[in-house]
Symmetry: D2
Subunit: 343 residues, 4 copies
C-alpha cells in the first residue's frame, strides 16, 4: 500500500511516498481504508523537528486527522463493525479523564504513525464512528482541530447561554470554536486582521467582529461589547505572544483564557499581577479525549453542523497541501483525498 | 475613638493616629470592638500607592484583617448577637459565587476603611463568627492570608488525599496552604531559601523540603519527589517572576498552578508552549468569598488547627509592625493588639 | 396602600384586601411600586397550610413572583437606582453558593411578606434588574418558575448541546425548562396528556412529544428517541408519584433526574435498585440563587426569549387568578396586573 | 488449571471446581497468577440469578475482586511488566469518564469470567498495579468495595475537611468509606446495630457512633452531632428501605446521599417532598472507574492505609467463604487464598 513517510532525516525533503505491506488487524484492532485526511499546524512542524522533547524515530507516517471505512476486524472487536465510517482519535490512548504523560505519548502522526497511508490499523479504542450526514472531507477535519475547540468551549470553559466568548482569528480551531460557542448559546466576538475574513465569520454566526490590524488596542472595543458582564467570560487565545496582553485586558474578572496552539518557543512577558488581582484562569488546552470527541459528534449531528472546508488536494500532493496550510489562500480546513480508493 | 489613618497623601509619613467619633450601627449593621489585627503584604503597598487602578480617596483606615467582639446591633440583624467574636471578611460584598468587579470593590483597608480603629461598624453580611478555641491573635490572621490559601487548596485545586502539593516559601499564605493541604490529606513539599525555615516547615507537617538557594534548579528534585504522578498536582506559586519557570517544569500534565500574591508590575517571560502542550492551568487567586471562609473555619475547628503567630505589637506601633512585615525576623503572622480595650 | 393578606386563619376565606401604611426604605433597602405579579402552585398551598414545618405567623402578604419599578432608595444603595425595573428574588437571602436553612428561610410570600402589595420594600440584595425587552407580564413570571427551570437545566444538569432532555408537562416550570434546554443546544422531548398542548410545545421548540395518556408506558418510545445515548441525559421530573418509575426506565446510565415541584406528602415506592445499578442522580431543585437569576437574564436577553403568558387578572381578582392557576384553561403563566399604579 | 465455575444452572449447587486449559495472553493482554480473592454481597447473588437483566451465559467463573502477579505479556503491553502485582478492575472497560451501558457490561464475575481461577488473562487496560506495602489479602479487597467507597466519598460527594459524613453499618464498603472520609479530613459518624462493632468503628477512626437498634429514630441524635452544619453533608446509604427515611431527616439542605449496595427489588416509599424542599441529591454509586482506582491507591499508599481483613479461606472452600460473607462472624472482608500458587 501507499504511504507518505518521513525517512532519513527531519526536513520536508525527507517526506516521500513509499510502499509498505498492508497491516493485518490483531486482537482488538480494526483495519481502516482511508478516504480523506486534513492538515493542522502541527503537521508543518513534525517533518522539521519531530514531536515532543526528542525528535523521535524514523520512518514516521505523518498527519493525525482523517476518516476512513472499517474493512477488517481483529478478534473480539465490539465497538465498530465492517463498513462503519470512523475517525481515529488524536490521542489513541486518552479515552476520558485527566491527561497524563502516558496518554499524551499516544498521538497519531508522531510519535505514532499517522493517517497518510491507504490502510491504517488501530485499536478499536482509538476510533469513533462518524455521523452519516458528514462528507468525507468534513469528517476528516475533526480529530484535532474540532476536538480542541470542543474541549476549550464545552469542557474547560463550560460555556453557557448568555456567555461572552472572544475568538482570535479564523483558522481551523477558531472556526470550530465559533460554531461550538454558538451551539452553546453564547454571544461570540471574532477578531482578525482581514475584513473579508471577518465578514465570513459573521456569515458563520459571529455576533461581533473587530479588525485588530486597524484597531491594535482591540481590547477596548472588546470590553465595550462585553460591558454588561465586565468583560469576556472566555477567550480562545490562538495568537500567543502578540495577543495575550490584550486578552488579559478584556477578560472578565474570574474569566477563562483557553490557551491553544503550537506556541513552543514563545515566551511573552506576562502581566502576572493582573492575572492574580482579576482572578483569571489561563488554561492550556491539548486536543482532548475520546469521550469529548463523541459528545461533540452528538452535538454536531443534532445541529447538522458542517465544518468549513478549504482547498482539497490529491494524496500525492501532500507537500502542496502543506504549503496551503502554511499560507492559506482563504478560510477552511485543507483536505487530502485518497480518491483512487474511495467507493 | 482611636484610629490609624492615611491622610493628606500616599506615603508612610501620612499614616498617623487620629480621633474619630464612634460609629452607630444602622439597620443590618454590627458594631465591633476590635481586639487584634494582622498584617499582610498588601498593607505595605496601600499606604504608598493606594489600591486598584486609582489611588483612592483619603483619609483611609488601613489594614484588612482582624478580630473583635460584637457590642452593638442595628435593626434586623440575625447573623450574630452581642458578645459574638467575629472576623470581618476581606471582601465585604462577596458572599459566594463567582468574583466580579462589584465584589472586588468591597475590600477592607482600601477602598473601604479597614480595621485599625477601636470600633468598626460593618454589615452583618460582612462578618463571620470565630471558633472559641482560637486566641485573638490567631483569629486575627484569618480573613486574607488564610482564606486565600483555602481558596487555592480546597476550591481551585480541589486537593484530595494522595495529591502532591508544592508550596513556595514560609510566609503567611504559604504556612496556611501547608496546613490546609495536610488537612486535605495531600503530600506537601515546601521550598525556601532558609534551612532553618525548612526545618520549621517540616515541624508543621511538610513531607519534603528543598532549599532553592542551594538548588536553584529546584524543579529537578521536586520532579523526583512527585515522580509517581509525573509532577505536582498543585503548586502554590508565591514567588512570581523568579519561580514560575521552575514551577512549569515540575507541575504534572493537567496540573494547577495557583498564582497568589501582590505581583503587580512584574511581567516575567512565560513559556506559553509548555502551558499548552502540558495542559497546565494557571489560576489567579484573589482571597475568596464568605462561604469559603466559613467552610475553612469548620475544617479548622474540627482539627483544632492553630495559625502560626510571629511578633506582636501594640496598636500605636503599627509602623514598627509594618517594618516587621516587610523584613520578618522569623515565620508567623505579625499581630497588632488593641490591648486597652480587651476584656 | 392596598395589600392582599392572609389574616385570622389559614384558608382562602382569610385571604382579603387590606390597607397598610406605605413602607419607608431603611439603609440598604429599595422601595418598589409593583406592576405585575405571577402565580405558582406554591401560592395555592400557602393560604391553606402556611409554609415549611410550622404554618407561620399572620397576617402574611402572599405571592412570591412579580416585577415593579424602584421609586425610593435607602441610604447607601448601589445595586439599583430610581426608575430601574426589578424583580424580587424568591429567596431574599440566597445570593450564591450552597443552599442552607438560613437561606431557605427567606422566601417571599411566606415566611416573608410577598408581592401582593402596591409598594414593596426589600433589601437591595434581594432584587435583580430586568431587561427592557420584557413586558411587565413577562418579567413577573421569572423569580420562581423560571429560576427553578434554569437551576435544573443549566446548573444541576449542566446541559450541553447534544444532550437529550425530557420534560414532563406544559406547566410554568416545564415551559421554561423547554426554552432553556433549547438555548443550551439540547434535544428536547415533552410529555403531556393533551395533544393540543403537545402541539403547542412543538411550536415552542420541542423536538419530540409523547402523549402519556394514550401511551402510559411512555418510557418505551422515550427510550427510542434517546437511543443513541442509551436514554435521557436529564429528565425534569414534575409529576412525582405517577411518573418517577417511568423516568427511571428511560434515564441514561449516569443521568440526572431533576425533582421539582410541591410534592409534599407524596411518598411513591421508588426502585432504589435501579438508581444504584444505573448510577442515577436524583437531584431536588428548590428555585435557586440570585447569581443564577442574573445569569438566566443575560441568556434570555441575548436570545430575546419571551415567557409564555396565560390569563391576566386585576389585582382585586386574586382569587379568580388562583382558581385559574389550580385549573388552568391553557398553557402559560397566570398574571396579576397592578394597573391603576402603572405608568 | 483449577477454576470455580457456575455450570448447568443458577444455584449454589451448580458452583463447582473444574479444570480449564491455561489461557495464553493475546496482543495487549496480561496473564496473571492469582494469589488472593475477596468476596462481596454481589458474589452471593450471581450464582442464584446471574447478573443484570438476563441471567447470562454459563459456565461462568465467579467473583470480581482479587490480586495476582503478572507472569505473561501479550504483544505490545506497556502498562505493566512481568512480576508486577496487579488487581483487575471491576469494570474492565471503564477507564474514566461517565458510566454507560457499554462500560457497565464489562464487570468481572458476571458477565465476564471472574477471578476464581489459578490463571486469569485480561487486557492490560483492565489491571492496576498494587503498592508493595499491602499484603495479598489486603490488596484483594480493593476492586469493588474500596473503589465504591472512594467513588462515593471522593468523587460524588467531593468530601472536604470539616464535612460531616454519616456511614451506615460496618460492612466492607462502610469500613472503606469510614477510612476514606477520615483521609479527606471529615468528621465521621457510624451507625450500627451492635455496640461491639461501633467500638471497632471508633478504633478505626469514627468520631461518633449511634446504635440504631437501641435508637430507632437515630436521625435525631445524628442531627445533633451535625448541628453546626444543619445536618450531614454526606450520608453513605447502605441500608436502603429501612434507613433512607431516617437519612433524609438528618441530611443537611443541599447534602448528598450516596446510594450503594445490591438493593434490587426493594422499593421503599420515598418522601419526595423533602428531597425537593431540602434540595437533597440522591446519587446512585456503581463501583467506579480505573482512574478513580489509581487515585485511591495513591492516597492509600501515602497514608499507608490498610483494609480490614476478616476470615480467610482456602480456594477449595469458596462455599464456606460465601456463607461467611452472608452471615459474617465479625467485621472485615472475607478472603480466599490461592496458597499453593503463592511464591
Amino acid at each position: 500500500m501507499r504511504v507518505f513517510q518521513i525517512d532519513g532525516g527531519w526536513s520536508f525533503d525527507h517526506l516521500t511516498v513509499a510502499e509498505r505491506p498492508e497491516p493485518v488487524p490483531q486482537a482488538g484492532q480494526v483495519l481502516i481504508r482511508m478516504q480523506a485526511a486534513s492538515l493542522n499546524a502541527r503537521d508543518l512542524i513534525v517533518p522539521l523537528r519531530g514531536y515532543g522533547r526528542a525528535t523521535g524515530e524514523l520512518p514516521l507516517i505523518p498527519v493525525s486527522d482523517g476518516v476512513g471505512t472499517v474493512i477488517g476486524l481483529g478478534e473480539g472487536v465490539t465497538r465498530v463493525k465492517i463498513g462503519d465510517r470512523v475517525c481515529p482519535t488524536y490521542f489513541q490512548g486518552w479515552i476520558a479523564g485527566e491527561p497524563s504523560a502516558e496518554r499524551f505519548a499516544t498521538a497519531l502522526g508522531g510519535p505514532l504513525d499517522g493517517v497518510m497511508a491507504d490502510r491504517v490499523c488501530l485499536s478499536e479504542d482509538g476510533v469513533v464512528r462518524v455521523p452519516d450526514y458528514l462528507t468525507h472531507e468534513e469528517a476528516a477535519t475533526l480529530p484535532c482541530a474540532a476536538v480542541t475547540a470542543w474541549s476549550a468551549i464545552s469542557i474547560h470553559a463550560a460555556t453557557r447561554p448568555g456567555d461572552h466568548v472572544l475568538i482570535q482569528g479564523t483558522g481551523g480551531v477558531a472556526l470550530f470554536a465559533l460554531a461550538f460557542a454558538k451551539l452553546h448559546g453564547a454571544r461570540v466576538t471574532v477578531i482578525s486582521s482581514s475584513d473579508a475574513k471577518l465578514e465570513q465569520a459573521r456569515a458563520l454566526g459571529a455576533d461581533a467582529t473587530i479588525n485588530y490590524r486597524t484597531v491594535p488596542e482591540w481590547s477596548r472595543p472588546a470590553r465595550d461589547i462585553a460591558a454588561d458582564r465586565g468583560g469576556f467570560d472566555t477567550i480562545v487565545e490562538l495568537g500567543g505572544e502578540a495577543t495575550l496582553g490584550q486578552s488579559i485586558k478584556c477578560i472578565r474578572i474570574g474569566g477563562t483564557i483557553a490557551l491553544i496552539g503550537v506556541l513552543s518557543g514563545l515566551a511573552p512577558a506576562l502581566p502576572l499581577g493582573a492575572i492574580v488581582t482579576r482572578q483569571v484562569r489561563l488554561q492550556g488546552v491539548t486536543v482532548g479525549h475520546r469521550d469529548g470527541f463523541e459528545a461533540m459528534l452528538r452535538a454536531m449531528a443534532q445541529h447538522q453542523l458542517r465544518p468549513v472546508i478549504g482547498k482539497t488536494f490529491a494524496f500525492a500532493d501532500l507537500k502542496a497541501a502543506l504549503d496551503e496550510t502554511a499560507r492559506p489562500s482563504g478560510i477552511g480546513k485543507t483536505i487530502i483525498r485518497f480518491d483512487a480508493h474511495d467507493s
